[in-house]
């Protein structure tokens, strides 16, 4: 290593750290407000850069607030800061950020999960804090599971996406992550509700926080491919549920195995069009080489400032919607998506929620992640992708621990029934003992 830290540099860093931890002890004492929250960096706020983990948005200060941020602020919320994430949400471990990698509070050699990794870590570390997360294909559930916190992904359209930097617009959902379901219950009504700036939010029925879970459906397909720790914790949780009087029903959902490929085709198709606007002019990273032709101009910026995974997904998505492939991939995926929704709806005729583990393993170590191929990484989302494709609300809640690392389970409810999930989580919380990371002072 050719870098030797100077004493002055160390001192400065130490002071910054000191200030930061002091403020986190009691943030409201510093800046006022009735509660504090954080926002994933793909949500726009006037007073912070919005970079969505991407170098191409370096320095971008949005001229408006995202609706969920605006509503929390109007209700006494203090926005502490923005949380790190995979570039545009492209990842499951938050390792695809241009601005450093957040580490798991339970074990800093391990990842936080992604793409709302920073949000889940923040929720896990700071007491009485609520973190705004965003899920496209599992980006709230996954890090919530890895960081031992509760993460709610509301129904698609429940929370306005005005001010959310798009990944896959037909899939993106703003949700909440916190240590307990109590906070989520408190702030969901604040951020939910119609907004004329997001037409997809305007068709929602009123939010009902009530609900009851008597029967859970557990798909057979979700019990394969699990690590022994996760399988063990999940079976234990099912026994606990049965003991508390809940009926556990085994169900079959064969279409689940198509979810990953369907998701990646749809999400990347949309993402590749969303990312077309980043071309080195108007906002974000600017390209000053004005003597180039436009094609060279934007290719320059995009080659330089998009990360590897972003480029991979742009190529994948562009390919899926090209003439000659469009019907085979994009149009087909739209059909499969409908089939998956029907499968869930059928199961939900007899069950109040569908229950699975959230992730097939505990938070992996960074060296393990380095050895994984992209496809293996994508496969890790096989339980979190399906509900995201359906637009149904889902919630990840800790259900056990193995070697000090948290394990989560994920409940999926019918469209607009966030109340069912919250009531399920409430009763689970009543008997389950949470653990939170101990941070060395």
């Amino acid at each position: 290593m050719s870098f030797f830290p100077s004493a002055a540099w160390l001192k400065e860093l130490d002071e910054k750290h000191q200030l930061f931890t002091e403020r986190l002890e009691d943030p409201l004492a510093f800046e006022g407000g009735q509660f504090h929250f954080s926002a994933k960096d793909n949500l726009c706020a006037r007073d912070f850069q919005a970079r969505a983990g991407s170098l191409i948005l370096k320095g971008y200060r949005p001229p408006f607030d995202a609706t969920p941020i605006k509503r929390l602020r109007e209700n006494g919320g203090l926005l502490l800061g923005k949380t790190n994430m995979d570039e545009y949400g492209f990842g499951s471990f938050s390792t695809n950020s241009a601005y450093g990698i957040p580490r798991n509070p339970f074990d800093i050699e391990r990842c936080c999960g992604g793409s709302s990794g920073g949000a889940a870590a923040t929720a896990s570390l700071i007491r009485d804090h609520v973190a705004l997360g965003v899920s496209t294909g599992g980006s709230i559930s996954c890090p919530s599971s890895f960081c031992g916190v509760v993460g709610l992904t509301p129904t698609y359209g429940r929370v306005s996406r005005w001010g959310l930097i798009d990944y896959g617009n037909s899939l993106d959902k703003v949700g909440l992550i916190s240590r307990t379901v109590r906070d989520i219950e408190q702030y969901l009504p604040v951020i939910a509700g119609p907004d004329h700036r997001d037409p997809t939010s305007q068709v929602q029925p009123p939010l009902d926080l009530r609900g009851e879970v008597r029967t859970v459906g557990v798909p057979e397909e979700a019990r394969t491919g699990l690590s022994p720790e996760v399988a063990g914790a999940f079976e234990e949780a099912l026994r606990d549920l049965q003991r508390s009087g809940i009926v556990v029903r085994e169900v079959r959902m064969p279409s689940l195995r198509f979810a990953i490929s369907t998701y990646y085709i749809l999400a990347t198709s949309e993402a590749s069009t969303n990312l077309a606007r980043y071309c080195g002019m108007r906002f974000g990273a600017m390209n000053e080489n004005f003597d180039q032709g436009f094609n060279d101009f934007f290719s320059d910026t995009r080659s330089r400032d998009f990360g590897t995974e972003a480029k991979r997904r742009i190529l994948l998505g562009t390919f899926s919607r090209m003439v000659g492939f469009r019907n085979k991939y994009y149009v087909k995926a739209l059909q499969v998506r409908k089939q998956i929704i029907r499968d869930y709806q059928k199961v939900m005729e007899d069950c109040d929620v569908v229950l699975t583990p959230t992730m097939p393993f505990v938070a992996p170590r960074f060296d393990e992640i380095e050895r994984m191929k992209p496809l293996e990484m994508y496969q890790a989302d096989y339980l979190t992708c399906p509900p995201n494709l359906t637009g149904m609300p889902h919630l990840s809640i800790p259900c056990g621990y193995a070697h000090g690392m948290p394990i989560g389970m994920q409940a999926v409810a019918p469209h607009w029934q966030e109340g069912t999930l919250l009531s399920f989580a409430r009763s689970w919380e009543g008997s389950f003992h949470y653990r939170f990371p101990e941070v060395a002072e």
């Binding site: 949500l43 997001d198 037409p199 198709s269 108007r282 934007f298 090209m322």
Partner: protein, 448 residues
């Protein structure tokens, strides 16, 4: 020869298609916001008025209306396109399979859809040192695109089609009649292969561009060469078409649905809409109903909508031919003033024409009276004196002219004409001469 057109018409809404920005910006980049600049985190919301206008046009063009519509993203990189995709309609359109009549010829309409306009690129500076300036005021302005079947058979017919279409749309939704309101892509095939001339502004240029393309293709065919299927551009200044850049010919726009806008049910909306009568439709009806020539009907309607109203009410009273000659003659020559005269003097015009046609007023008197109604200060007199006491005036005049009474008593009925003339002069055509004469004779009779 087959010609098909893709016509882009700017809808005259006050705000843009997907945001609240005004469509009428002057200074470059003064009417822009995060939505029409494609800023991250912004998203479109549909302008209902634009949708309504689009649906009305679609219904007017006799299309089958799509019950549920959605939008698509057409992706291509260009500096005037802020998101580097355009929100348009692809599989979905407002309607399909309509038609539009140009005279007696039926031109098929394949589809009508809504889309947003990109911004504008301006090249400035001396040759060799040019720079591009981009104005995003136009970005997001609503357009309706009308795609015709290749039913047009000459450049002149294409121009007639566009002329008639804009006449109708101007009345229907108030599109401005300016040349740049209409941008056209023209497809033309003389032989087997089709050539597309992209982005021609204005009707005249469409005809010129097509003509020059006909000449070019005819020459090629004459020497046995093949016409290449391609995209060309019309160079207004040189009056010729030039081949487009290679890339455009391979364009693959990678269409996907626009997920932010969802679907809109326009079936019931279209059902509830009544298509008002448009000028050329009216001309056609007038031709049949009033038995006048197609050319005359068109001329009246295009001169002024209310002139046509007057013609029709005249025609119902005095017949088409008489109404025609009066309308195109004395009435239209003083039309500006007559029309500005909002106190109901039209009623008087019809009375005059009716009186002449019944024979109770001479033709020249009728012309004089209409001229009086439409002539500057006389009109003022009439305006000031709607309450003129005709009976009182007659009594006064008769009192002042005992010699007339004397003549009249002797049996010389023509003696009354002098006084009738006086009354008419005083009342400036307010009353029909027939009425004045009757009253005058009655008054004179009393004195006998």
């Amino acid at each position: 020869m087959k010609i098909g057109l893709e016509i882009h018409v700017q809808l005259p809404t006050r705000s843009k298609l997907f945001c609240g920005c005004s469509t009428g910006g002057d200074a470059p980049n003064s009417m822009v916001c995060p939505v029409c600049l494609g800023f991250p985190g912004s998203r479109p919301f549909l302008n209902r008025r634009a949708l309504e206008m689009g649906v009305l046009i679609t219904k007017f063009l006799n299309c089958k209306i799509t019950d549920r519509i959605w939008f698509s993203r057409k992706t291509y990189f260009y500096p005037d396109l802020p998101k580097n995709f355009q929100i348009t309609q692809y599989e979905s359109a407002l309607g399909f399979d309509g038609h539009f009549m140009v005279g007696e010829k039926r031109i098929g309409i394949w589809r009508v859809h809504l889309e947003e306009d990109p911004g504008r690129v301006k090249r400035v500076g001396r040759a060799g040192e040019e720079v591009s300036l981009i104005d995003y005021n136009r970005s997001g302005v609503p357009l309706v695109e009308i795609v015709t079947a290749p039913d047009l058979s000459s450049p002149a017919e294409a121009r007639d089609f566009l002329t008639d279409l804009i006449i109708e749309l101007r009345r229907l939704i108030g599109v401005s009649g300016e040349e740049q309101t209409m941008r056209v892509d023209a497809n033309i095939s003389i032989g087997e292969d089709r050539v597309e001339i992209k982005n021609i502004t204005g009707l005249k240029n469409v005809e010129k561009g097509l003509k020059s393309e006909v000449t070019r293709q005819t020459k090629l065919l004459a020497v046995g060469k093949r016409i290449v299927r391609e995209t060309r551009h019309y160079d207004e200044s040189r009056g010729v078409t030039l081949p487009g850049r290679e890339k455009e010919q391979e364009a693959d726009y990678g269409y996907i649905g626009e997920p932010d806008l969802g679907t809109y049910r326009i079936g019931p909306l279209a059902e509830s809409m009544v298509v008002p009568e448009t000028p050329l439709v009216r001309a056609q009806r007038m031709q049949k109903e009033h038995g006048i020539s197609a050319q005359a009907a068109r001329q009246i309607v295009l001169t002024d909508w209310e002139l046509a109203d007057l013609f029709e009410s005249l025609s119902r009273r005095v017949g088409g031919d008489t109404a025609m000659s009066w309308t195109m003659g004395p009435i239209s020559s003083g039309w500006k003033v007559l029309k500005a005269n909002t106190d109901g003097s039209w009623k008087k015009v019809t009375d005059i024409v009716e009186a002449v046609s019944e024979g109770s007023m001479s033709d020249s008197e009728g012309r004089l009276r209409i001229a009086a109604l439409s002539g500057g200060h006389e009109i003022e007199g009439i305006n000031n004196g709607p309450s003129t006491d005709l009976d009182g005036l007659i009594v006064r005049l008769v009192d002042q002219h005992p010699e007339v009474v004397k003549d009249f008593k002797k049996g010389n009925e023509k003696a009354a004409n002098f006084l009738i003339g006086q009354v008419m002069k005083e009342t400036r055509g307010q009353f029909a001469s027939k009425v004045i004469a009757e009253k005058m004779k009655r008054e004179l009779g009393k004195r006998v």
